[in-house]
Subunit: 377 residues, 4 copies
Amino acid sequence: MSNLHKALDEKLVRVGILGATGTVGQRFITLLSNHPWFIIHALGASPRSAGKPYAKAANWKQTTPIPSNVREIIVQECKPEHFKDCAIVFSGLDADVAGDIEGAFRAADLAVFSNAKNYRRDPLVPLIVPLVNDFHLSMIPQQQAQHQPPLQKGFILTNANCSTTGLVVPLRALEKSFGPIEACFVTTMQAISGAGYPGVSSLDIIDNIVPYIGGEEEKMEWETLKILGGISEEDGQKAFDMHSRYPLRVSASCNRVPVIDGHTMTVSVRFSRRPPPSPQQVREALVAYTPAARSMGCPSAPAHAIFVHEEPDRPQPRLDRYYQDGAGVSVGRVRQCPVLDIKFVVLANNVSIGAATSSIINAELAVLKGVVKLPIN
Amino acid sequence: MSNLHKALDEKLVRVGILGATGTVGQRFITLLSNHPWFIIHALGASPRSAGKPYAKAANWKQTTPIPSNVREIIVQECKPEHFKDCAIVFSGLDADVAGDIEGAFRAADLAVFSNAKNYRRDPLVPLIVPLVNDFHLSMIPQQQAQHQPPLQKGFILTNANCSTTGLVVPLRALEKSFGPIEACFVTTMQAISGAGYPGVSSLDIIDNIVPYIGGEEEKMEWETLKILGGISEEDGQKAFDMHSRYPLRVSASCNRVPVIDGHTMTVSVRFSRRPPPSPQQVREALVAYTPAARSMGCPSAPAHAIFVHEEPDRPQPRLDRYYQDGAGVSVGRVRQCPVLDIKFVVLANNVSIGAATSSIINAELAVLKGVVKLPIN
Amino acid sequence: MSNLHKALDEKLVRVGILGATGTVGQRFITLLSNHPWFIIHALGASPRSAGKPYAKAANWKQTTPIPSNVREIIVQECKPEHFKDCAIVFSGLDADVAGDIEGAFRAADLAVFSNAKNYRRDPLVPLIVPLVNDFHLSMIPQQQAQHQPPLQKGFILTNANCSTTGLVVPLRALEKSFGPIEACFVTTMQAISGAGYPGVSSLDIIDNIVPYIGGEEEKMEWETLKILGGISEEDGQKAFDMHSRYPLRVSASCNRVPVIDGHTMTVSVRFSRRPPPSPQQVREALVAYTPAARSMGCPSAPAHAIFVHEEPDRPQPRLDRYYQDGAGVSVGRVRQCPVLDIKFVVLANNVSIGAATSSIINAELAVLKGVVKLPIN
Amino acid sequence: MSNLHKALDEKLVRVGILGATGTVGQRFITLLSNHPWFIIHALGASPRSAGKPYAKAANWKQTTPIPSNVREIIVQECKPEHFKDCAIVFSGLDADVAGDIEGAFRAADLAVFSNAKNYRRDPLVPLIVPLVNDFHLSMIPQQQAQHQPPLQKGFILTNANCSTTGLVVPLRALEKSFGPIEACFVTTMQAISGAGYPGVSSLDIIDNIVPYIGGEEEKMEWETLKILGGISEEDGQKAFDMHSRYPLRVSASCNRVPVIDGHTMTVSVRFSRRPPPSPQQVREALVAYTPAARSMGCPSAPAHAIFVHEEPDRPQPRLDRYYQDGAGVSVGRVRQCPVLDIKFVVLANNVSIGAATSSIINAELAVLKGVVKLPIN
């Protein structure tokens, strides 16, 4: 452990970023430029960008400037040989290319932390929201062992869809305190940044709502089960149990709204437990929730996972999306539901905890748990 | 009847508008300026506006000019003596003054069609969405008889909250085809025009969602029961039954969104009937629904009450709020719900069918059914 | 002439539309579906759309439905042989393909009315804002004669950039009354629809201004001279004089703003005449301006070309863009300018008078002046 | 000086805030809560708020929480006796009350730094943009001497209108390098936060532009002269010369746009100097400009006053308003103007450098120059 801590303190963990010029990639760069452990070592993008200094290749859209130590890094093609010195590779690739590239990186024995959806349904790939189910990391050895050929260090780990992430944090807090949830209604009002850049045409969303986001409802309804579920084991083989011991029905209705950052959701849940907890008990359970990522000392984990508002008109995306630098989740309006048990409003920052921040905390967890093999070990 | 038709064809029905300078009042004026039966005879507003020609008194915010025949009408205070020649008085008054003024108008034997919330919970006042429960007009004689002193012509009739209106039209169509609904979830995304002018501050809603509208959820949960319920009769006394023969639980979550006109809702319902209807059966029932207002010949009733979209991303407020000049309701995305039975999206134009248009159709219904006593009868 | 009027009354003028599935094309279809003279005969789009019924090929984004008589028209590729029966071809093509296709159509002896920029600087192609410089139609015979081989009926005529159009209408009215303008400042605040679909990313424009539109300032500064200038003649050769007899300097600053439709501009002008006209004289001259398109009877020309607002806070795009169905121009805040002479605000509907409506009035003018040869002549 | 530095380092300068619950007041609190010299000692607001802890009195609208050391401060009425221990009083009062209250505070010998417009045209009150004309502080002794009775410590000093502030910073940089400017055109696109809260109704500004802000153009045209002008002296009496030695004509056109924070302006200028500087010379002069506030060590002064963008589409309010925490000004698109000499785009954060930040830097300057008398001196 002392070598590990020494390496971390000396910031010796080299990381690479795939899809570095895109929206998620820019967010990775912003977040990683001051990371206490990680140092950006390689940037990958499309062949069109490869060979250029990052500042020339990227159409930078963040409100802070390109970090000075990144401006001159020469962008590479997304090929494993350019990232072989990276202990961790973050992927902000689009789904249309992520499948092949991430697979190739894993095959080259690299540890890939992906934002893309391609491997989320893979039965050997953990789908981890770091404030919720870090124990799913225990699937990695099996993923490595079953790879052809078996891998020493390489694996793929994904984080969840941005809207799923906001939902499962409070649901996990509630299940921890009150036991299984049986049913969940969620209607999302999702920010445009969730669609990337250029993403949503302004003609489609100014003075408008689009009550449909392709594939999003299916993702929320499915990913929630994988994340909130446990791991079963039979004949030495582990498997994600999809919350099957306590069947959970999720009904999602997803909408795009003219908000830049921050996904807002109305949520209603029914517990197995009769009588169900009161609104006040729910509030207390949400406030008290402390994920392992915090107690283990992940530097990017929020000090508090969930903030519970008392004002009747909060959370609001414009006012509350910066809570904990976007790494925390805000909940408000906890009250009785006439149809299920309890309803409330959730706000999560889709570009932070809903995307790059989650990937980074996942990597921090994987380092602390020894799943990522550092060169100094 | 021939006198009635003659009067209607000759446009002899004089109407007055209370709150004429406000948002709803402006909408009444726009809609009534070309009405085939009604002629604007008197306009009422606050003492500050009284005595001025309408064009001077109003801060006109419509996209069409003030109708030329209205520009020079002198605005009156909202006192019954100025409206005694009006067979119908439409009220777009704010709730803080509507209670007293509308009560005084009724006491002066005037027929009041109100947009305000004040009398909606009165057990003798019909709460009518004209595409849904016109049969509630049958309560008017009892309201007149129980007034002290009893009234000949005067009464108060209200239309529903703008968000309730959009919900109950498809629910009524479904109950008509498939019998009672037991449970209903609805999350609204409501336009800023629903809050009047100046209403919502731009600082509160640009790049933002406000997940709370004071009193709105209670209205939706309560009004829906009154509107979809029947009328019971005992000892010669009629009473609204609040859907009590088949208890209906409604859970509403109301949000303000940066959309100018048009309330969008995600709705999920559970039927009593087992098995429930299929999505295709639901679509067909919605398309087939024909309210009495249309078959009876109300000129402001939409040709079709409900449009059902097949495209996955509709209805959208900016594209679909003008359907049937705002008098129809749009539904889309009819599909299975994993928690209840069927879910779908509803869009209703809050300033048309959700407000002034409903009041006008209610008045047309009341004229055709003889509830409004015309001078020519 | 009697044959002409007969043909027009019988709506025998067949027209085609190039780029029919795009934003401008959709607008052409909406406007032409009820045109008193023209009937849509052929629709052209990219090979990807060709062969499909229009309703399947187009991603329809208008607030009114696809006209029923257009839904089933089979979209063609943009080749002249599919349009040979069209007396008029409207082009809403993108600039990257308009040059070749429009040239081929002209070469096939077809009359092309283009919205694209490609031929606007051609010294033989009139650049006509129909409320301003219809007399530039007199260049068409020379264009036909100098074509290789010479043409009988074919030609290309363009309308102006949407922002130029809004500017030159009041400038022309002022020059007509007060003689030459020497200098003009204009800052535009342009709607997103001016960029087509998908056009401007919502991430670039919600809660934002983009102070740059590629090539737009150059277009405004150059097109204004061509449109407001006259036609000189030397040795029997006509030429556009670019306002050179009275040099005019135009300085444009173009901005994209989060408005859906309607370009707003602040304008300041200096006249040659000393003393310059007063604000009141300017107002009167703007109100009195009557373009030839109206007096000649073009059915799509606005009843009044320019509306002058007296209220201090108008025109506003959301309230005033529908003036004259978008075919008129609104002016307000006419006042002294401390640097030049007079300043004011202009609003023009970029998708109507700034695009398709202008093309259609140009075609109406060309028909009435005999520049378009009808089959029935 | 050592006592001064000691007091500053020990953060002994007590400050009060008038209008503490309003938009500008909230901004003062946010900025001052971590100020190295100043400590918030007293908060004043309307009688309705007085007596409550600040956290109860304010409808907090900032994206960071109320500073914990401010939450429990009891709000006072805006009377001098409650602020007698404050060396500095910042005023964010509305103009309708600022005149009387600020006058009373001055009469009570308190130093008032005001954001309100009431005293800006007073011939004895400096109107200071801290990056521009700090030398106008030299008028304070005359203001104190001519007061009845004469004052020892009290005075009023105002900062400029938010749109004026953005304009005069680059104009001052240009005059410093190239001598007098003769004429200036400016069209503003101003954020809604400039109108306070609730301020602009969302119905007036979503999908819209309002081409008018009452009194704003007059302020820009007049304040610019006072700020950029010098101080003349005759018979021992000082007077602001209103740039009269080199007459400067300013023409402003002010527009409200749907942007939350950040005023964007298109600016064009004509210099006295012939030939005028080139665009490249202008860029260099802007970059090189270093105001005294920086060199004197004001802690809130920006490290760089003006950032000059090379990209053609910058500055943009959403991306650039946080430059130097809102204390710097961004300029872009420096180019030739066909009518005057040079044109460019300016962006200034209206709630930071355009309001509270300027007041705070003004106070820092006044402390460093000894104009504010500290108790420890």
